[in-house]
């Protein structure tokens, strides 16, 4: 408990809810019952899988998106539209390509009606402080990604924002550039060279979040809710190798890989037809399993160690882990991952046998795969248009998501050779050899055996 004078509350969200109407008129809840406070002197990070509404939350605070319910307050006043004092930095930089660095930075001041001379002076100062001096007359396209994001920061900081919102500000940059820019920002913050009182940022990188933030909020997805809150009481600069640091990273990995059923009873069962299959190619799953089986992990690892070896972004890793879990190759518990017997068998087998094991696990555990296989088996020509399955999936998922899930299952099914797919005609079929074998005890097909368009 803070015994010093109570710190001012900057942002206060109470029971915020946001839903969008999909083109098919169904309602999709993006944020539900979100409660959140940002106090003076705090940096807070938002973590969560894609689709957890983190970016939407930032835009609600920025006054760019209206919530459907709940209260959004900035220093006790309701936010209706963009508030002066809240500035935002974008993942895509969002610079105006036809304006110079100077003009981009001056834009917010221009909108405030500040006279040109003062504008120029303040912009030059902001450009200097962020380390872009000398590039005032350059156009964004002349700059590298890191420098462009510096313009993004200068543009936000020139407004002398009370609250700084950042939507994955470093994720479009390479590792080294991101680290430098992050360090520079933290220096400005800790040395109080900027008047900013609070920072809220969205990240997809757990280590980055723990490096910067005083508090990490973890969002669940579908709908987005605050699932956990982890305080980070470590002194700056933080040592990413320190045990205390690693412990927090571990804890967050653990929370983020918890199975959703425990959190929300309404969430889809893993085996239901409309389950949102993770994005993971068979080769990446294979790579993960091999890394887990080999030295130094030998079949058991905590997640940060695995992430370190695989060198994959956290998002991608989570998808791989979920795929491994669905296939019952691995189990994930409390931030640790362990190889299961089927996973071990898979890794030890040769390529052809690996495919067989993959196919078996897929047919037992992925109900969409077994469903498709059953339909193809039952049909006389062993073919079915993809639309048929997409329509079935649309009972559970949005149109885009239905297509993505089918694409994913097709990707796996082709590798496992449990069905084939023709991209041009959009037709699913049994793989060639099996079709011939089965064809023997069936009357010859009436139509020409013409293959679908090449």
């Amino acid at each position: 408990m803070d015994t010093a004078a109570p710190r001012e509350l900057l942002i206060h969200l109470a029971n915020v809810r946001k839903s969008f109407r999909a083109p098919d008129r169904s309602e999709r809840v993006v944020l539900d019952e979100v409660n959140f406070r940002l106090q003076e002197g705090e940096i807070v990070a938002l973590l969560g899988k894609s689709g957890s509404g983190k970016s939407t939350l930032l835009r609600i605070i920025a006054g760019l998106v209206k919530p459907n319910g709940g209260d959004v307050l900035y220093r006790g006043k309701s936010i209706n539209g963009p508030a002066h004092g809240i500035s935002m930095v974008f993942q895509s930089f969002a610079l105006f390509p036809w304006l110079t660095v100077q003009q981009n930075v001056e834009l917010g001041l221009e909108a405030m009606g500040i006279p040109p001379e003062e504008r120029e002076e303040r912009a030059t100062q902001a450009i200097d402080i962020i380390g872009l001096g000398g590039f005032e007359s350059a156009f964004p396209r002349e700059l590298s990604g890191g420098m462009r994001q510096r313009v993004g920061f200068a543009r936000a900081l020139v407004m002398q924002p009370d609250v700084l919102l950042m939507d994955e500000p470093f994720s479009a940059l390479d590792v080294l550039t991101a680290e430098t820019l992050r360090g520079d920002l933290l220096e400005l913050w800790h040395d109080r060279k900027i008047p900013t009182k609070g920072i809220l940022f969205v990240s997809h990188n757990i280590e980055e979040a723990v490096t910067i933030a005083d508090r990490v909020l973890i969002f669940s997805s579908d709908p987005g809710r605050v699932k956990a809150e982890i305080p980070v009481n470590l002194a700056h600069p933080r040592d990413t190798e320190a045990p205390a640091f690693k412990h927090i990273v571990d804890e967050i990995y653990g929370i983020m890989t918890q199975h959703p059923q425990r959190a929300a009873g309404a969430a889809a069962e893993p085996l239901s037809l409309g389950y949102r299959l993770p994005e993971a190619t068979p080769y990446k799953i294979e790579g993960m399993l091999e890394a887990l089986a080999e030295e130094p992990l030998n079949g058991k690892a905590d997640l940060p160690a695995l992430a370190d070896i695989l060198q994959l972004p956290d998002d991608t890793l989570f998808h791989l882990l979920e795929a491994g879990r669905i296939f019952q190759f691995i189990k994930v518990e409390h931030g640790d991952v362990a190889m299961l017997p089927r996973g071990q068998a898979y890794v030890e087998a040769e390529d052809a046998v690996r495919k067989q094991i993959f196919a078996e696990q897929m047919l037992t555990n992925v109900s969409l795969a077994s469903h498709i296989r059953r339909v193809l088996d039952e049909r006389r020509d062993h073919r079915a248009p993809e639309d048929r399955f997409i329509q079935e999936l649309e009972d559970y998922l949005t149109d885009d998501e239905a297509e993505r899930v089918l694409e994913q299952v097709i990707n796996w099914g082709r590798y496992a050779e449990i069905f084939d797919y023709d991209y041009t005609s959009g037709v699913l079929s049994l793989p060639e050899e099996e079709e011939e074998e089965r064809g023997e005890d069936l009357p010859p097909p009436s139509e020409e055996p013409a293959a679908p368009a090449p």
Partner: protein, 235 residues
């Protein structure tokens, strides 16, 4: 090169048949048509740019408007011309001015289509940034919307302008039953001479029109287009 050769051949063909005085006259008529095209493109832009932007920034409206606009673009505008003839006769209007709108009727949609496409292609983040930094009203048009739609607007305007030159052949010489309304312009010149089957004069008229269109494209549109490409492209 090919263009120059064609011009020389046309020159040879026309020479001897048509007096120099008439050649100059045709150039003058083409200048009148040029003024017409420019003024009408400007007027159509004033109308359709704001409307196109309004639609383009609203994805749902854009979706609904598209089939309507496509229908309008495919609508044979000649069907409207008798109405114009009747109107001009009834109210004793100036033929040179009031037949002009006919040449833009069918081609103005290119401007609308392209502006809608340009406005709907503005990235959400850019709109969010403008919103976040309080950029509103005229500043929003000046700093975001107009530069963002400029490349596609220029494309639309080039197409509309080229089309309007062609349409001038019919729209400067409008007939309805026994009535013929003839405006001054290279379009009317070409139409009159094709009715007579006067090949050298058709060649002269067409040649001059092509020359003007090429000059237009080089001197105005291509420059604007290069500006759009170099400075105002969204990456």
């Amino acid at each position: 090169m090919t263009a120059a050769y064609a011009l020389i051949r046309i020159g040879e063909f026309v020479n001897g048949e048509v007096s120099y005085h008439e050649v100059l006259e045709v150039f003058g008529k083409a200048a009148v048509t040029a003024v017409r095209v420019l003024v009408l493109i400007a007027l159509a832009s004033l109308v359709w740019v704001p409307i196109g932007v309004w639609i383009g920034l609203r994805p749902r409206v854009a979706q609904m408007v598209q089939p309507v606009a496509q229908f309008l673009a495919a609508f044979p505008v000649n069907l409207v011309w008798p109405v114009a003839v009747v109107g001009i006769l009834k109210f004793h209007l100036n033929v040179n001015i009031w037949t002009s709108p006919l040449m833009i009727l069918g081609t103005q949609w290119y401007i609308l289509f392209n502006v809608i496409a340009g406005a709907s292609a503005i990235p959400t983040d850019l709109k969010d940034a403008a919103g976040n930094f309080g950029v509103k009203g005229w500043l929003r048009w000046k700093r975001m919307i107009l530069p963002a739609i400029f490349p596609s607007y220029v494309t639309g305007a080039i197409t509309a302008s080229g089309g309007s030159w062609n349409v001038s052949i019919y729209s400067e010489y409008v007939s309805w039953g026994e009535t013929n309304l003839v405006a001054t312009g290279v379009g009317a010149y070409i139409f009159e001479n094709s009715a007579k089957g006067d090949f050298p004069r058709i060649a002269l008229g067409t040649g001059v029109m092509v020359l003007y269109v090429m000059l237009f494209n080089r001197q105005i549109w291509r420059r604007l287009y290069r500006l759009a490409e170099e400075r105002w492209r969204i990456e």
